[in-house]
């Protein structure tokens, strides 16, 4: 593990860019979305309840959604959108049936912009008029639109080195046999050249991924053509088989998930005991997404500014190079630590992740949590056999309802962790929970606070609800039940608002968009008679007949002496204040003749601050009067 002196001194809270919360941006991703626009993509089947839902629509909306995610999360990645089997052509190579979609002020393969997202959102409306659909592979002609498309995509991805960028072509199509319409030697020839083209691309470090669209009544047969194109081998093949969902919506979910490229945070070893060490990859599946960092601009030119940090000696004012030592005052002395010493202190464990033992799941309490968890998945890339051991332990832990306790020895933040096994959960919309271990960061004794004890009842008897009250609460709970609640069903209203505003500003729009806050309670549902009745019964069982009076009493009862006095003063001030004609006094400059006590009547009555000298008070009154 490498040591970064900056990391050691870094405080996580102050630093949103901390490695833990940010994925490494070591490599950027370049993606070409290659969308089949043949008439087949536009056909609708009678099975669909909604006629709008064509495969083309599914593909396009997946891309639109992923563009929006991308501009928030990984805006450095570059994308190109390219249709094939089109009537019009637009590409540098001037090949038929291929149309590269783009907007102004942007290269064909470039970072997504606000304009791109906006225009792509209405692509379906303008598509027929501007681009048009037309099958590019016909028996009569020698045109090969798939070949052309791959060529164009490959040319787009020519920029940047394969070492620093991850290059991918994502192919959306519902045609499992693109050369089905041609026969004989032409077909053989076309297949051969297309496969060669794909292989060339792959040799250049470009991976081609297929996102097949299928219908329940006609399965997408990968083996007809695409197995060869993708260079799939035995085991990988099964992962590619599209599960034909009953609903297009589910398929959309599946595609959307598959469009993400998994990014591992790091590779670690997990030592079990006596030299058995597995290879694992860690993934950050859950991390708070925050509005991007602020860039300071020159307010006149709107050009970004360069920030420069300098260290000054507080005693002499001398400029200092990056200081090598830190200190802590202790016993009236400055105890100095070198960077090496501090990292040595933090190096309490030798391995990456060391198993310490197992415990039943009941030992893991709800308050044993500090940070978002990290996901662990085995890899046989370097140590063959890791997966096998991992699967065995994973199964045992699930079956025996136990979790592992381990020590995670990162160089900056070594911590005790719980490894909780999660079984795979698959629904119609694809994999919902991947199988693997979730690493949960545990608190230490000094991180846990015993709040309950502070409020322990002095007289030994804390009030407890009786059976009837609990029964009423149970009834209430049955009424307000969120049956299909899923953890991430809400989008973050603050973030949505943030980016909606940015998008509007970036496009110079005048109107600020309204963003729906999905997190507000369901008022309508709460107003249903059943719910209201259950609520009333529960309320009655706890608070008795007079909840409202009770509330009044509670607020009064809780008011401290000081606030009672404050209230009395305010009431008095309102009365006194009415005795003066303030506007008149102000107009005639008579305010200064009043005492500060009198002036404060006005201020208190109007809830203005009463601090400051007499002139300040008068000024404040004048401002308030609008004089």
């Amino acid at each position: 593990m490498e040591l970064d002196p900056d990391d050691i001194f870094r405080d996580e809270d102050d630093d949103p860019e901390n490695e833990f919360f940010q994925e490494r941006e070591a490599t950027k991703e370049m993606v070409v979305y290659l969308v089949d626009a043949s008439p087949k993509m536009f056909s609708t089947t009678s099975l669909q309840e909604n006629q709008e839902e064509t495969h083309f629509h599914v593909a396009v909306s997946c891309i639109a959604q992923s563009l929006k995610t991308q501009i928030i999360n990984r805006s450095y990645d570059e994308v190109a959108i390219c249709f094939f089997n089109t009537r019009e052509k637009k590409n540098l190579q001037d090949l038929n049936c291929v149309y590269v979609f783009n907007v102004a002020e942007r290269d064909d393969l470039d970072r997504p912009t606000a304009r791109l997202i906006k225009d792509f959102d209405c692509i379906e409306e303008s598509f027929t008029k501007e681009i048009g659909s037309q099958c590019g592979i016909l028996s009569g002609s020698r045109d090969n639109s798939l070949y052309n498309a791959l060529w164009v995509a490959q040319a787009l991805l020519r920029k940047g080195s394969a070492k620093t960028a991850d290059k991918r072509i994502l192919l959306f199509t519902n045609e499992d046999d693109p050369f089905g319409s041609v026969k004989g030697v032409v077909k053989i020839d076309m297949t051969r050249t297309t496969l060669q083209r794909a292989k060339d691309a792959q040799d250049l470090g470009i991976s081609i991924e297929l996102l097949p669209l299928s219908r329940p009544d006609e399965e997408f047969n990968v083996s007809l053509f695409y197995t060869d194109l993708l260079g799939l081998e035995g085991d990988d093949l099964s992962l590619f088989l599209p599960s034909a969902g009953q609903r297009l919506e589910d398929m959309k979910d599946q595609l959307r998930k598959r469009m993400f490229k998994k990014r591992k945070v790091r590779r670690i070893t997990f030592s079990i005991a006596n030299g058995i060490s597995l290879e694992l990859n860690t993934y950050a599946l859950i991390r708070p997404t925050v509005p991007g960092t602020i860039t300071w601009l020159d307010s006149v030119t709107n050009v970004p500014l360069q920030s420069e940090r300098s260290f000054l000696c507080a005693d002499t004012g001398a400029l200092i190079q990056e200081p090598a030592k830190r200190f802590q005052s202790y016993k009236n002395e400055d105890i100095k630590f070198s960077v090496e010493e501090l990292s040595e202190i933090k190096r309490v464990s030798t391995g990456h992740l060391r198993l310490l033992g197992f415990k039943p799941l009941s030992c893991l309490k709800d308050y044993h949590n500090l940070r978002p968890s990290t996901f662990l998945f085995p890899s046989d890339e370097e140590v063959v056999g890791s997966t096998c051991i991992f699967i065995a332990l994973h199964r045992s832990m699930l079956r025996l309802k136990r979790y592992a306790v381990a020590f995670y020895g990162s160089s900056t933040h070594p911590q005790l962790v719980a490894l909780v096994a999660q079984d795979e959960i698959v629904t119609a919309s694809g994999q919902v929970e991947p199988p693997g271990l979730h690493m949960i960061y545990l608190p230490y004794s000094d991180d846990i606070r015993h709040i309950e004890e502070i409020h322990a009842d002095e007289n030994n008897e804390a009030s407890r609800a009786n059976g009837d009250q609990i029964k009423k609460a149970t009834a209430l709970m049955r009424r307000i039940d969120l049956k299909d609640f899923s953890v991430c069903q809400f989008s973050n209203p603050a973030l949505q608002r943030h980016y909606a505003v940015l998008q509007a500003l970036a496009l110079d729009e005048d109107e600020m968009p309204e963003v729906k806050d999905e997190t507000v309670p369901d008022e309508e549902g709460m107003a249903r008679t059943g719910v209201v009745n259950a609520l009333e019964e529960f309320k009655h069982s706890i608070y008795g007949e007079n909840y409202d009076e009770e509330k009044e009493f509670e607020t009064n009862g809780k008011v401290t002496e000081a606030s009672k006095k404050r209230k009395a003063i305010a009431e008095n001030a309102v009365q006194e204040c009415a005795n003066y004609d303030w506007a008149d006094l102000a107009d005639n400059g008579k305010l200064k003749d009043l005492t500060t006590v009198e002036l404060k009547y006005y201020l208190t009555a109007h809830k203005l601050p009463v601090a400051g000298r007499k002139e300040a008070l008068i000024n404040r009154i004048l401002v308030h009067l609008g004089k």
Binding site: A273, G275, R287, D298, K325, R395, D446, I451, L495, P521
Partner: protein
């Protein structure tokens, strides 16, 4: 700060029964004092030992009795001397009476502060409570404890008792221990006292809160079940990480003669225009910009305030849902606790009713929270019941923050069932894993749960403060090594490991780990700790080496087209699994045969036999998989014959002992060899070796 200061009297049992853990007591108490020296310099501390030979306390001179209670230090503001004293506690010689010590400590606090400083006076008692307490002059021990507890309560004195032993299975007088435990129990019932029992030295280090933090609420107000029903609650942090201290940067620029030098460093940020780096842009000419794709959108704070999301302060219920709907790994942050407004009886009842109903029905509540007015975002989280098992603590809720849709990355992973059989554990392996998970147990019944977060100290902070203390004496003191007590947090407990040695060994025997041969040669070399001189034996790296191996990112598989000398087995497997041409299988088998032949033939005193055996096993497996039994069987017969001719019988012996024989009809349908024939193949050869020997 001063009004928040605490007065603490440490009551430490140093009687012989305590000697084996006094080292840990010394450590945890010095840590407590060290943190006070840094974070609460005005706190006052007294120190009382009991079980000592000597007697030294005011009560014994005033009223007599209270023998063997030794006041080492009166209540004074903390200083470095306390740390010194605590690090070398005298070992006592007689049994200690903890009740006497409590009375002495209480007397010290009362004499010094009287009824003032309520709630800021604390006793901290560390004792095994193994020795009987003296009978009082009148009444029972319990009466006496009741009187003391009432006094403590009246003066607002709190007490923490740490009993470093188990509740059961302790050596000593069972009756005395039960009686003492009962008395301590009375304290925790009748006064603001807390008694914790810890078994291991590691948990003793974690049992005492070494840093005093006065908790503050993050929210006080309504928990809105609906607009018609609001419950008054207070919300606190339940967990909050104690961070590694932020050290200041040190400047050595000040002259050594300057006694008042702060040695601090100020960090200064300057913003310069990119075109003209000499031009510094003052703050009022700067404007904040937010990134949106490649664009940076300028927006002033005022503008931003006008358009940004501004929720109202409130905590609202969205609904209840099944506990199973919320998986544990979705918890995002440190945890909060919801407690009913302590002054509001009805609220306590309401929280209690909801918590108990939730627990009974296995439900949790989903809330939307805005803790403060002006907070720029909302928090959605899950409220889970915390039903109290102690009579005097109210029921409450824990609150965990949940992720928003934007916070979740829906990466797709392969199903475990989709992995090839070679990567799936077989029944025997699964059983070994089951046993490991069962037996490598940190929470055995009847014993203390090891590494409970509540009692586990932070080894990094322990180490930092110990180093700090060492450095204050010798500025060049090296970083102290982790002692055995702390090692139990970062490494598996050797005792526990030896207890389940057989299970671990079995696990190790059944699972095989080896380095992946498909790695590029260049990166593979780096996998070794030390570069190997020859290619010999490189094929079989044992699992130990792998554990120590350093990994290289992005090492990718390479297409193998011939079987090399270094890793023949892996090369063979790689070739066999190539799918780009059917010819690879034949070529692989052929090459492998040659390789094995070479190895056997060129072996010098059997040095390559092990490797040849591995290759042969691999070849056998490959031929079964590829339905080429004949190729293997012919080869094996040929090899046997060859060995006999060349007097290399020990190789055949090795094969026989490992049960490597012909491929049978049951293994591969194309084979013509029956099970019996295969068995007799080796048997037939075996006696031959015996004869020849």
């Amino acid at each position: 700060m001063a009004r928040n200061k605490e007065a603490l009297v440490l009551l430490l049992d140093v009687s012989p029964s305590m000697h084996n853990i006094l080292q840990e007591v010394e450590k945890v108490c010095s840590m407590l004092i060290q943190k006070k020296l840094i974070y609460s310099k005005y706190d006052e501390v007294g120190l009382v030992l009991f079980g000592t030979e000597d007697t030294n306390n005011e009560l014994t001179t005033e009223v007599g009795g209270y023998e063997h209670v030794n006041v080492l230090r009166h209540i004074k503001v903390v200083d470095k001397d306390v740390v010194e004293v605590l690090q070398q506690l005298p070992r006592g010689t007689v049994a200690g009476d903890f009740l006497d010590a409590i009375v002495v400590g209480m007397d010290m606090l009362i004499k010094k502060f009287g009824p003032t400083n309520k709630g800021k006076k604390r006793l901290c008692l560390v004792t095994k409570a193994l020795c009987p307490v003296k009978a009082p002059y009148e009444g029972t021990e319990e009466d006496q404890v009741n009187t003391i507890a009432a006094q403590m309560f009246a003066h607002g004195i709190k007490m923490d008792c740490i009993v470093p032993r188990g509740k059961q299975n302790v050596d000593g007088n069972v009756r005395v221990i039960e009686e003492n435990d009962h008395l301590l129990g009375v304290f925790s019932k009748k006064s603001s006292s807390k008694v914790v029992y810890v078994e291991s030295p590691t948990s003793l280090l974690g049992a005492l809160r070494t840093r005093r933090i006065s908790p503050v609420t993050i929210y006080r107000g309504d928990l809105e079940i609906s607009s018609a029903l609001k419950i008054k609650v207070w919300v606190y942090k339940k967990t909050a990480e104690e961070k590694f201290p932020t050290l200041k940067k040190y400047s050595d620029k000040a002259p050594a003669t300057d006694k008042f030098a702060t040695h601090e460093i100020k960090v200064d940020y300057e913003y310069k225009s990119i075109e003209d780096p000499s031009k510094i842009v003052p703050p009022d000419q700067r404007i904040k910009g937010y990134r949106y794709g490649p664009q940076v959108v300028p927006i002033s704070s005022a503008e931003w305030d006008a358009v940004k999301f501004k929720p109202e302060k409130s905590v609202k219920l969205l609904g209840f849902t099944d506990t199973s709907n919320i998986m544990r790994h979705y918890y995002m942050k440190d945890v909060s606790i919801f407690i009913a407004d302590p002054g509001n009886k009805k609220a306590i009842l309401a929280v209690s009713a909801l918590a108990r109903a939730m627990k009974e029905m296995k439900k949790v509540a989903i809330l939307r929270c805005v803790w403060r007015q002006g907070q720029g975002n909302v928090v959605v989280g899950v409220l889970s019941p915390n039903v109290s098992d102690k009579e005097n603590t109210p029921d409450s809720f824990y609150f965990n923050v949940l992720p928003f849709a934007e916070d979740v990355r829906e990466f797709q992973f392969p199903s475990f069932s989709n992995f090839p059989v070679s990567r799936q554990p077989n029944e025997e392996q699964q059983e070994a894993a089951d046993n490991l998970v069962k037996m490598f147990d940190l929470a055995p019944s009847g014993r203390e749960e090891a590494l409970q977060p509540e009692f586990t100290p932070n080894p990094v902070l322990e180490r930092f403060y110990r180093h700090l203390e060492l450095k204050s004496k010798h500025r060049d003191a090296p970083v102290p090594p982790l002692d055995d007590t702390l090692k139990k947090i970062t490494q598996p407990d050797p005792e526990l490991l030896s207890e389940c040695k057989s299970v671990v060994d079995e696990f190790r025997r059944l699972f095989e780990l080896k380095e992946n041969p498909k790695l590029k040669k260049s990166s593979k070399r780096l996998l070794r700790e030390k570069p190997s001189g020859s290619d010999e034996g490189e094929g079989s790296v044992n699992a130990n080496d792998v554990g120590a191996a350093k990994y290289i990112e992005n090492a990718s598989a390479e297409k193998i087209d011939k079987i090399g000398d270094s890793t023949p087995v892996q090369d063979f497997e790689a070739m066999m699994s190539r799918r780009d041409s059917p010819e690879w299988v034949n070529k692989a088998i052929k090459d492998m045969k040659n390789k094995i032949f070479d190895m056997v033939e060129n072996s010098c005193e059997g040095d390559t036999y092990q490797k040849a055996l591995e290759c042969l096993v691999s070849l056998r497996k490959g031929c079964i998989l590829e339905q080429e039994p004949k190729q293997f069987n012919d080869f094996l017969r040929h090899l046997y014959k060859f060995c006999q001719e060349k007097d290399l019988n020990d190789f055949c012996e090795l094969l026989a002992s490992k049960g490597v024989t012909l491929i049978t009809k049951t293994e591969a349908i194309d084979s013509e060899v029956t099970d019996d024939e295969a068995r007799s193949f080796t048997v037939k050869n075996e006696p031959k070796h015996e004869e020849e020997r």
